[in-house]
């Protein structure tokens, strides 16, 4: 019952995103600004890597182009975050504060689904394209052509990564129900997610533990990249799917507990 998705949900989603698209197409200059911004940030990330590799030949056992593949995956996920999560669920904290959430709860749709996917900032999807392009280029520089099995494992692990990132956002935003005064909870995500830019093996033991088990950002970049480059066998996709399912269920439970709190608070 918890995960039943009615067919009408897809119709609602399609209608919302169609409206967003029409709205965004009025501001085409934003497209140029968005692409320039992405190119600048990919540039600084590559320069940072170049700086690290001036002083070493391997980062956590990964060589330069392997880390660039990871950077591409990171950027693709950032695109999904900026296109869907930040403009959607990212606004939740301020809505809990000013009561805007009442309007959402009054709608005859699943509140979590609506809050999460109500907006699509379509220009940021170019980050996904640029990120995957970078990953593909780095892969060719590595001279490795992934087999069908590896590609399939990568696709599954990447989808799992998207779900894990989503679950982290839901969990984080649910905190807004307890700490009402906090408007910029997304800052916390930005701060921690920086850690996903590098392979998790590059960190000292304590940080590695945190990134794999507590704030599972290792599953969002290190694991899909490892599946693609063949560093890990294709069976890792099964583990990734299991982690994603677990993260999703936990986030859903937290969301429900949080929502009960909101109802209680408003009367």
């Amino acid at each position: 019952m918890m995960f039943r998705v009615p067919r009408s949900a897809f119709r609602v989603l399609a209608a919302l995103w169609r409206l967003n698209l029409a709205e965004e197409l009025q501001y085409r200059a934003n497209f140029v600004a968005s692409v320039l911004g992405t190119v600048f940030w990919i540039g600084t990330a590559l320069l940072t890597l170049a700086l690290f590799f001036r002083h070493t030949t391997r980062l956590g056992g990964w060589d330069y182009w392997e880390v660039v593949v990871l950077l591409g995956v990171f950027n693709a996920l950032t695109g999904v975050i900026e296109a869907v999560l930040r403009p959607g669920i990212g606004r939740l904290a301020s809505e809990v504060r000013n009561g805007g959430l009442d309007l959402v709860l009054a709608k005859p749709v699943d509140a979590q689904g609506f809050v999460s996917f109500r907006r699509l900032d379509v220009w940021h999807l170019t980050d996904v394209v640029l990120g995957l392009g970078l990953a593909g280029y780095a892969l060719s520089r590595l001279g490795r052509v992934p087999g069908v099995l590896q590609l399939a494992a990568f696709v599954v692990a990447l989808a799992a990564a998207g779900i894990v990132v989503y679950a982290i956002w839901v969990a984080l935003m649910s905190l807004a129900f307890w700490f009402v005064s906090v408007e910029n909870l997304s800052v916390l995500f930005d701060a921690v997610y920086e850690g996903a830019r590098y392979p998790v093996t590059a960190y000292p033991g304590a940080l590695r533990f945190v990134f794999v088990y507590l704030l599972p950002i290792a599953w969002t970049t290190t694991i899909p990249t490892s599946a693609l480059t063949g560093r890990l066998g294709p069976e890792i996709a099964v583990a990734a799917a299991a982690v994603a399912a677990l993260a999703f269920v936990l986030a859903r439970l937290l969301w429900r507990a949080a929502l009960r709190r909101y109802t209680g608070a408003s009367g």
Binding site: A33, G37, F40, W41, T44, L47, T48, L51, F52, R54, H55, T56, L59, G60, F179, S181, V182, E183, N184, L185, V187, L188, D190, A191, V192, E194, G195, R197, Y198, A202, Y203, P204, L207
Partner: protein, 270 residues
């Protein structure tokens, strides 16, 4: 003498006000501190693993640890968010009633900076002291003279970063992308001010360019002064001279942007 007392009274009221406003958003401040701690922690983690048991450009693991702890503190004490405030003030018209007050709006911004930095810098200092209890690598030798010099350098760096942020925020009089420009500045500063690595680890050409600009003086110089990487009268004097020159230039930029922008703002408003 009377004028000094007047200003002390004004600033006392402004700072108390800013402090009390911040106090309502305690959880927010904790968030910004976590944000301020994670970036140096991640950089430290990477350099820690690169250094291994050896040295990178003269830095062993313990040196990196001291560098990034000092960076964490100095960054928190010098960071200025004023671009984002000014951008909103100008775009949404909040600047109007601030202009009607008998006090220049910059004083309110300075008071806010003092209140914010006292609180967040104090908390970072506590984090550092607790870390030093269990982790000898991040302990600094007792050197009151050096700490006094660092305090002075931090003050100058904070003033410089305030005027950089304020002047860039004033660009909102002309463009809607003032905060994006500040973001680009932050991206360049990541390398040239020493946030990602000590400047001596940069390629010599890049470090050479940095030395010609204001970036090292807003962060790397006070940090190196605190850790002891900058020593000797000549190097210390050179650092302070650079800070003073660039502070003067940014104050000039701010004055230019303020007078020109206000003329333009008035013309738009009526």
């Amino acid at each position: 003498m009377n004028r000094v007392a007047d200003w002390a009274r004004r600033y006392g009221a402004l700072i108390r006000n800013a402090w009390l406003v911040d106090l309502q958003y305690r959880a927010s401040i904790v968030l910004w501190i976590i944000w301020g701690v994670t970036e140096p922690t991640i950089a430290l983690g990477i350099w820690w693993s690169i250094a291994g048991d050896g040295q990178v450009g003269g830095y062993a693991r313990a040196d990196f640890a001291r560098y990034f702890f000092a960076l964490m503190l100095v960054n928190q004490l010098t960071i200025a968010w004023d671009s984002w405030y000014l951008d909103r003030w100008i775009r949404e018209g909040d600047l109007n009633y601030r202009l009607a007050r008998p006090l220049h709006p910059a004083h309110e911004a300075v008071a806010e900076n003092i209140a914010y930095k006292a609180r967040s810098g104090g908390m970072i200092l506590v984090v550092w002291l607790v870390a030093a209890l269990v982790w000898p690598a991040v302990r600094l030798p007792l050197a009151p003279g050096r700490w006094t010099l660092t305090a002075l350098a931090v003050l100058l760096a904070a003033a410089m970063r305030f005027f950089i942020s304020f002047a860039t925020g004033l660009l909102a009089f002309w463009t809607t992308r003032a905060t994006a420009i500040m973001g680009l500045h932050g991206g360049v500063a990541l390398f040239l001010s020493g946030r990602i690595a000590p400047l001596t680890l940069l390629p010599p050409a890049v470090a050479g360019v940095a030395a010609l600009l204001w970036f090292p003086y807003m962060l790397a110089f006070p940090v190196n002064l605190l850790t002891g990487a900058v020593h000797g009268t000549a190097a210390v004097l050179h650092g302070f001279a650079g800070q003073l020159v660039w502070l003067g230039l940014w104050v000039g930029a701010y004055q230019l942007a303020w007078t020109r922008g206000l003329r333009r703002y008035g013309a738009v408003g009526g």
